[in-house]
């Protein structure tokens, strides 16, 4: 148990010290965070709905919708 705790602490320290000592990395993390926010929050929620998931409740409904699209378009 003690060894596990010590290993987890070491892993945590790796990340904490790493982030603390970054220079160029701070700019990069800022870019990553802005990008992830734009992609996963703004774009995903407001601009990129999963059409079949949002418009139909079951897989069978989705399958029939695609069948209609492919046979009646």
């Amino acid at each position: 148990m003690g060894n596990l705790h010590s290993s987890a602490r070491k892993v945590l320290d790796l990340y904490i010290d790493g982030f603390k000592n970054m220079t160029v990395g701070r700019k990069l993390w800022t870019i990553i965070l802005i990008k992830v926010f734009l992609l996963f929050v703004v774009f995903r929620l407001f601009f990129f709905p999963n059409i079949l998931k949002e418009n139909y409740d079951t897989d069978d409904d989705r399958a029939r919708a695609v069948a209609r699209e492919l046979t009646q378009r």
């Binding site: 990395g25 990069l28 990008k35 774009f43 990129f48 079949l52 399958a63």
Partner: protein
């Protein structure tokens, strides 16, 4: 109908924009990770501080590229769900499984070994650090493998059966999908071309640094490593490119014909080096060609027949063994495709009516005609011809640039080993800097050949773009297209700006202080 064409066009443009931007980062990640791993191996064996300095410099540029490129690929998956919902449902788990494996692999690799690589210099043993760096290099390539398996399946759909009840293709043989010869070849071609791109980037940046007279030894050492990796990369890329040509001749002959602007094929077919495509006149003008070159390329037989676009439309093709056969014309394929679609309509009606006998009969007809299911969506045989000029020019640029890059690697190695005084000259800087856009355009051109050349198909012969696209409005796709264009342009500007600043530091002062975690 007009709106459908616009939706298809804008959705394709958006996908192309996203894929092109994503591919700006990926090959550099692949190539640079290998170069860094080799440099760290040299450092591990020599414990030389100059190699530690060199490797940390490239690791910083690697980190910048990685940060700007990370998650750009996820947008492609958003687009599948919104713009290509018919496609994403229709391909089912065949496409989803490799992408899920890629996602898991990328996540675990990035969360662990990247962290050790960048933060772990004083936290882990040198051997463990070296292993982490190699695992990152191997991991990014393995990550690419699953994406390329998914892409190869679209070009050469194998290991699946269409299940009309689920309205999707169901994987029947995972190994046929995972070990498809198209996937394996594509993997080697894409990954080794990434080595070349990484190498040219290192050579180009090293030339810039050397020309300013600072960190000259670091620049020379970097070119030595990059030159050998780039040379190995371009040789493998050419070898796998040859394999690709043979495969394309068998599984996507229309793409090969478009790559060469070949309308009427012949035995002992010439390979065009340069020329101007006239799509209206259906010929290539002012061409300079290598006699019998295309026959050699496609079939490894100088006197073999290579079908052109018109031959293929009439049903003349070559078998997997390279024999010329008279197969199904494209007009007949359209009829077969329509029969498959009618069977699907009958299936849906029988399903609604609960008529089991009719259901089984319709399912059997779907199965019999499914091979050409997608042709039923085409208005005429000509609709199965990809944009010839764009495919032709992209292919020829790729080949010519590939030849140039092969020479560049040889010259770079010759200079750095035999004529080192040529290295820090203005000419070397100009060649080095100009080669950077050449390799990137070459790499993107390869994807243009692969993707534009297979139009109109999202899944070869099964689903064209016009059927794959969602029932959305053109305006909504236009809006997100421009949003992406703005975000991507800003990200690219940020990356180039941060990278240029880091490179500039190496041109104005000697890099001597090595502060372990400052990345």
């Amino acid at each position: 109908m007009e709106d459908l064409i616009q939706v298809v066009d804008w959705s394709r443009m958006q996908f192309a924009l996203t894929a092109i931007v994503h591919w700006l980062f990926v090959p550099l990640t692949i190539g640079l990770s290998l170069i860094i791993a080799v440099m760290e191996t040299i450092y591990y064996r020599s414990r030389s501080q100059k190699w530690l300095k060199t490797l940390k410099f490239w690791m910083t540029l690697f980190a910048i590229n990685f940060a700007c490129g990370v998650a750009t690929g996820i947008i492609l998956e958003f687009e599948f769900g919104t713009n290509w919902s018919n496609y994403s449902w229709f391909v089912g788990d065949i496409f989803g499984a490799p992408l899920a494996i890629e996602g898991l692999l990328a996540f675990f690799m990035e969360a662990t070994f990247f962290a050790v690589m960048f933060f772990g210099w004083k936290k882990v043993s040198p051997a463990f650090h070296l292993a982490s760096t190699w695992l990152v290099a191997v991991g990014v390539s393995l990550s690419a493998l699953w994406i390329l398996i998914a892409n190869a399946w679209m070009q050469y759909p194998v290991g699946m059966e269409f299940e009309p009840d689920q309205m999707r293709n169901v994987m029947s043989d995972f190994w046929a999908v995972a070990t498809s010869p198209v996937a394996i070849n594509k993997f080697f071609h894409a990954v080794t071309s990434g080595w070349v791109l990484g190498a040219v980037f290192v050579i180009g940046v090293s030339c810039i640094i050397a020309a300013r007279g600072k960190n000259l030894a670091m620049a020379k050492d970097s070119v030595k490593v990059a030159g050998w990796i780039g040379l190995a990369g371009i040789i493998f890329t050419m070898w796998s490119g040859d394999g690709s040509a043979v495969q394309v001749a068998r599984v996507q002959p229309m793409k090969l014909a478009a790559m060469e602007g070949l309308y009427k094929g012949d035995v002992g077919q010439d390979l065009i080096g340069v020329g101007i495509v006239d799509e209206k006149a259906r010929e290539v003008k002012y061409k300079i060609a290598i006699p019998k070159g295309l026959s050699v390329l496609a079939n490894h037989d100088a006197d073999s027949f290579v079908p052109g676009i018109d031959d293929l439309l009439e049903g003349i093709a070559i078998t997997h063994q390279g024999d010329t056969i008279n197969t199904v014309s494209y007009a007949e394929r359209i009829e077969i495709g329509k029969a498959a679609q009618q069977a699907l309509r009958d299936y849906e009606q029988a399903r609604k009516a609960g008529d089991n006998e009719a259901l089984l009969e319709a399912a059997a007809r779907i199965k019999d005609n499914y091979k050409y299911f997608g042709y039923g969506f085409l208005s005429s045989p000509d609709a199965a011809v990809p944009p010839v000029a764009l495919t032709f020019y992209a292919f020829h640029f790729m080949v010519l640039a590939g030849g140039y890059l092969f020479l560049l690697m040889i010259v770079a190695l010759f200079v750095v080993y035999r004529r080192p005084r040529w290295f820090d000259t203005r000419l070397a800087r100009i060649i080095g800097v100009l080669s950077i856009p050449v390799v990137w355009i070459c790499s993107e051109a390869g994807w243009i050949v692969a993707e534009v050349g297979r139009q109109p198909w999202t899944i070869q012969d099964i689903l064209p773009v016009g059927a794959a696209v969602s029932a959305v409005t053109a305006q909504s796709v236009q809006l997100t297209f421009w949003l992406f264009a703005i975000v991507f342009a800003a990200l690219l500007a940020a990356e180039i700006s941060i990278m240029c600043k880091e490179v500039k530091k190496a041109t104005v002062r000697e890099i001597t202080d090595i502060n372990d975690n400052k990345k």
